[in-house]
């Protein structure tokens, strides 16, 4: 694949550390702001449509998800890799969330409509063809963006730790699992 496309699936060969963090935090801020207007929150690798969200909730969930992933990944890196810098993990993980900006704009366009398709609508058989189409398109795009985001997170982990092969894959899967569990537990406890 050409170097031009490397920006899509592995920008960390060119940018990492504080620079990546700077770019990532700007993108993440835009994602959070647009997500807020589209009633969507982002935490960890999850995206959820929540009607009438507050600014505090939108920002804190995004920050919590990022902080947990960075912390768990950094601890794993310290335990299993050499020469790891905190700013590389922080920067690459922050930048790896850039596909979510597309998700936030999608949510802005269709979030409120999606939120209106609730379980009662299904029970009362009021779901229209356009509702189904919207759910399908939104679902497919969400999965694509989710896979893209996880691929970027994996590249972030790989570049920051210089781990390879099965060890890298297994450790990344464990890191993701632990991060998601901790994020969910903290959300349940705090909110």
């Amino acid at each position: 694949m050409s170097n031009k496309w490397k920006w899509v699936y592995n920008p960390f060969e060119k940018v990492a550390g504080w620079k990546a963090f700077g770019i990532g935090i700007v993108i993440l801020s835009i994602t959070t702001i647009v997500g807020y207007f589209g009633d969507t929150v982002f935490y960890g690798i999850s995206v959820k449509v929540v009607p009438n969200i507050t600014w505090i909730l939108a920002i804190s969930l995004q920050a919590l998800g990022l902080a947990v992933t960075v912390a768990v990944m950094y601890i794993a890196a310290l335990l299993f890799a050499k020469h790891v810098r905190f700013q590389d993990i922080l920067g690459t993980v922050t930048l790896s969330k850039y596909p979510l900006i597309l998700m936030s704009f999608l949510s802005l366009a269709f979030g409120r409509k999606l939120a209106s398709i609730d379980i009662d609508k299904f029970i009362n058989n009021e779901v229209t063809f356009s509702d189904y189409s919207l759910l399908l398109v939104f679902g497919v795009i969400s999965i694509i963006l989710l896979v893209w985001s996880i691929t970027l997170l994996y590249q972030a982990f790989k570049i920051s730790t210089n781990l390879k092969g099965v060890k890298c894959g297994v450790l990344f899967a464990v890191v993701m699992l632990i991060s998601e569990i901790i994020t969910y537990v903290l959300i349940t406890v705090i909110y």
Partner: protein, 87 residues
């Protein structure tokens, strides 16, 4: 550039003879190439640039247009190869 791999089977080459240009004396034997000479050309260039940058990975990253961890990972690969040659 000194060849370091056999063009026939890709094994590491050894030095069979060395000669003195001044008096014509020839030393014949089967000597290992120094660890650095056994590295591929791009790795040798990397090491030369690394020394020229006073061992600064940050400067190397800037020069190569790559991120710091990418350059550090390249260096780790070279260290691994040299360690293997030395064993």
């Amino acid at each position: 550039m000194l060849p370091y791999l056999c063009p026939g089977c890709q094994s590491q080459l050894k030095v069979k003879s060395l000669s003195c240009k001044q008096c014509g004396t020839e030393v014949i034997g089967l000597y290992d190439l120094p660890a650095l000479a056994r590295l591929p050309q791009e790795d040798q260039t990397f090491i030369l640039n690394f020394v020229k940058c006073s061992g600064s990975l940050k400067d190397m990253a800037k020069q190569m247009g790559l991120s710091y961890p990418t350059v550090r990972n390249l260096l780790d690969e070279i260290i691994l190869k040299i360690t293997k040659y030395e064993q």
